[in-house]
Amino acid sequence: MKVRVKNWSAVAVWRWKVDDDTCGICRMAFDGCCTDCRLPGDECPLVWGQCKHCFHMHCILKWVHSPNANQLCPMCRQEWKF
């Protein structure tokens, strides 16, 4: 053994693992934030329903609580479950 690793400081960036680029409700980028937030990232997270559709958490919460939505996913009209 000539050399061996003593320590390693690695750097990585994270991004959301999504197929679409934008949120189906607010049409803003997933890498950005929903229309009510100022900063993307931990303060404006994404959520996935059981139907595998993904939205800004703030957007889908507003959606399922609105009277006309009947707790359905806006993309596939199945019942929205986290």
Binding site: K2, K6, A10
Partner: protein, 734 residues
């Protein structure tokens, strides 16, 4: 004693009363009683009120006339005689007025009730003692003497101005007598104003017109200003010694007009010279003189601004190439700033107008795009200066020193127009400091960010703030990861730490990373961490930035062990040599999968530090190089940092940064235009341009052609339209 009317002999009573009055007016003690009036005025069978009024009136006429004769006995200077007699008379009258209260009441009643009393000399209605006494004094003493009195006063004051000793209290008494005598409630001070103040002011005016013209003809401005200051000070004092308080400001105004306003051009013309010579005393004096007159310091402001600007540009020119480096450039500006700030503080009373002039000058020095070599470089240089301060280095300064320097940097920062350029560079430098862990202290970093936020607002620093958040979040992740490993008994064989950054918050550039095969020694860490992270934060994907990662290698040469601080790429190459002693360049490329640019640079860095040897005779790393592990490596130190050549890269980076600033600017511009038009609906071209400039001023100064281009772009995209039949109006299209 009784209050009932009694029968009296008027002549007897009056004789008695007159003697007492004479004593009192002569300011001698007497024991007169007000009762006597009561008796006289209510006497039976006829009250003697009318008669009494006449007698009292005549008494004062006689008395005052006698006093006047006394005053006139002195030939040349009437003032002392007048003053002393007036003082006595005034005091006595005052006393008499109090004692004869009943008389006063009666007199007032007589006048207001329109009684039948006809005064003997026509104009004299009965009046209270005080009023009567003053009236008589005015008629029989002041009026006949006034010309001579005035002449005497003026010549005394002129003597005083010429430095002779005079009796100021006498003058004040005489002047005050005029104030007292002008007792017309409709025009208070009327006698004082017309008989004394007007001629006095005229005299003052012509005195200083003469003196100032004569003095300035024989002396330089510096001496003249000293004299002027002395004149004004002494005139201020003189006014307080001799005049009624209502005249103070008029006298000083007149003096200012003759001493300062009349010669302002000559004084103002010297300003530039005094600043050049740093003649603080003269500047102080000039400022205080010119500040007295409206608009007086305006030429000073211009001269000051021009002087600072010229000095700044000259200094930068003198620095020449050095002005392209952060430290000399910023230091030169700071020295210049503190020097002129000091002048403002010591000589100009921290006057806001001069501070504004200094600001204006600095803005034009720093944002100068034409003359100096460092034109337009200020934001970049300043950001680099901050980086030098905040980076760990061998010439570490104390925390307090760093903070003080940063405070000064903020002063310069405020003048920068391209604040967005500064922000770009600053965040780049900050990212490097954080990722490489070379920041001098968290406190200093957050202080600087707080300062920037205070100047430019919340938005300006959010990205910087988020980088810090990522640092703390990463710390937590490392902690939980280590707990997770020890709980599940997963050894990694190396010390491992992670920085997980948020996409978008870090200015890591869009440059494509080289592909890279992770060395086998590190692969386990990567896999385990990814599994751990994916469980903890679902829905997130990690993208490893190998060009920013680094680590320490332990290398053993015989009995000697070295610690090599190296980048990921360097590690990957060195680790290959655990298997073989010699690799060709293309073998290394295959093993690491690095692109040529990065591979060449990395291999070169290892050759430079003599960890690898080129085959003999070869000068440089090429396609065909054979690279041999140097078993005979030796170094004085045991800890070695393998440096990579970075010079060329930074220049490229700087160009890249400037380009990205320009891209951002056009976005900001369009957003601002749309925002404004959305709220205003219709605007003329000039109004729109104005508002855009105002909105963006905290980030940068948009050039007019750039604004025009953006407006046209937005018209093409149908955000705006031109209003029909007008030349320069736009409508917002929803």
């Amino acid at each position: 004693m009784t209050l009932k009317p009694v029968s009296i002999n008027f002549d007897d009573k009056w004789r008695e009363l007159r003697q007492q009055m004479e004593l009192i007016v002569g300011e001698q003690s007497s024991e007169v009683s007000g009762m006597i009036f009561h008796e006289v005025c209510t006497a039976r069978p006829t009250p003697f009120a009318d008669k009494l009024f006449r007698e009292v009136s005549a008494f004062f006429s006689r008395h005052v006339t006698a006093l006047r004769e006394g005053i006139l006995e002195q030939e040349s200077n009437l003032l002392p005689g007048y003053a002393s007699r007036w003082s006595t008379f005034d005091a006595g009258t005052g006393y008499l007025h109090m004692v004869f209260e009943f008389y006063n009441k009666l007199a007032t009643k007589h006048t207001t009730s329109g009684a039948s009393f006809q005064p003997d000399d026509g104009s004299n209605t009965p009046m209270p003692i005080m009023t009567l006494a003053y009236k008589r004094w005015r008629e029989h003493c002041f009026e006949p003497l006034k010309t001579r009195l005035l002449h005497n006063i003026l010549s005394e004051i002129e003597k005083d101005r010429n430095g002779e000793d005079i009796n100021s209290s006498v003058i004040l008494t005489v002047v005050n007598s005029l104030v007292t005598l002008s007792n017309d409630p409709k025009a208070p001070l009327d006698l004082y104003k017309t008989q004394f103040e007007a001629p006095f002011l005229q005299g003052t005016s012509s005195y200083y017109r003469r003196e100032a013209a004569a003095y300035i003809a024989d002396h330089d401005i510096s001496a003249y200003m000293r004299k002027a200051e002395a004149w004004l000070d002494s005139e201020q004092l003189r006014a307080r010694k001799h005049l009624d308080s209502s005249s103070y400001s008029s006298v000083i105004k007149l003096c200012e007009a003759e001493i300062v306003t009349a010669h302002r051009e000559k004084i103002q013309a010297e300003c530039t010279r005094f600043i050049d010579q740093d003649a603080r005393e003269d500047l102080t004096r000039m400022y205080h003189l010119l500040r007295r007159i409206p608009g007086g310091i305006d030429p000073m402001l211009v001269a000051f601004e021009q002087n600072v600007t010229a000095a700044g540009l000259k200094e930068i020119e003198r620095l020449s190439d050095a002005a392209q480096k952060p430290e000399p450039y910023v230091d030169a500006l700071l020295v210049l700033h503190s020097k002129h700030n000091d002048i403002i503080r010591t000589s100009f009373d921290n006057d806001n107008q001069l501070i504004a002039a200094l600001d204006k000058a600095f803005r034009s020095i720093i944002n100068d795009t034409a003359k100096s070599k460092s034109a337009g470089k200020a934001p970049e240089l300043l950001a680099a200066f901050c980086d030098q301060l905040l980076k760990k280095s061998n010439k570490n300064q104390s925390e307090a020193e760093i903070e003080e320097k940063l405070q000064q940097v903020i002063k310069i920062f405020k003048y920068i127009e391209g604040k967005d350029i500064f922000q770009k560079f600053y965040s780049k430098f900050l990212a490097k400091r954080l990722i490489h862990g070379v920041s001098v202290s968290d406190e200093a970093e957050s202080m600087m960010i707080a300062e920037l936020k205070a100047v430019c607002g919340y938005d300006y620093t959010t990205k910087l703030q988020r980088m810090f958040t990522d640092m703390t979040v990463s710390e937590d992740i490392n902690k939980t990861f280590n707990e997770f490993r020890s709980n599940n008994d997963i050894p990694l064989n190396i010390e491992f730490s992670m920085l997980v950054l948020q996409t978008g918050a870090w200015p890591l550039g869009s440059a494509v990373q080289s592909p890279f095969n992770i060395p086998a020694e590190l692969e386990k860490s990567v896999t385990i961490f990814e599994a751990f992270y994916g469980k903890k934060y679902s829905g997130r994907k990690l993208n490893w930035l190998h060009h920013l990662s680094k680590g320490d290698l332990r290398a053993t040469y015989g009995s000697k062990r070295y610690e090599l601080q190296s980048t990921n790429y360097q590690m990957a190459i060195l680790l290959q040599y655990n298997n073989e002693d010699v690799y060709s360049y293309s073998q290394l490329r295959q093993l690491t999968n690095l692109n040529d640019a990065d591979l060449k640079k990395t291999v070169k860095s290892l050759v430079d530090v003599k960890l690898l040897n080129l085959d003999s005779g070869a000068e440089d790393v090429t396609e065909s190089s054979l690279l041999k592990y140097n078993r005979a490596f030796s170094n004085k130190r045991t800890k070695i940092k393998i440096t990579t050549a970075v010079q060329a890269e930074t220049k490229e980076e700087s160009v890249q940064t400037h380009k990205s600033v320009n891209d951002d600017r056009s976005l900001y511009l369009q957003a601002a235009i749309v925002r404004i038009m959305k709220s205003r609906k219709t605007l003329s071209h000039n109004q729109l341009v104005q508002e855009v400039i105002v909105q963006l001023s905290s980030r940068f100064q948009p050039a007019i052609p750039m604004i025009k281009k953006s407006i046209e772009g937005l018209i093409d995209k149908a955000y705006l339209e031109r209003v029909e039949n007008t030349l320069d109006k736009y409508n917002y299209l929803a």
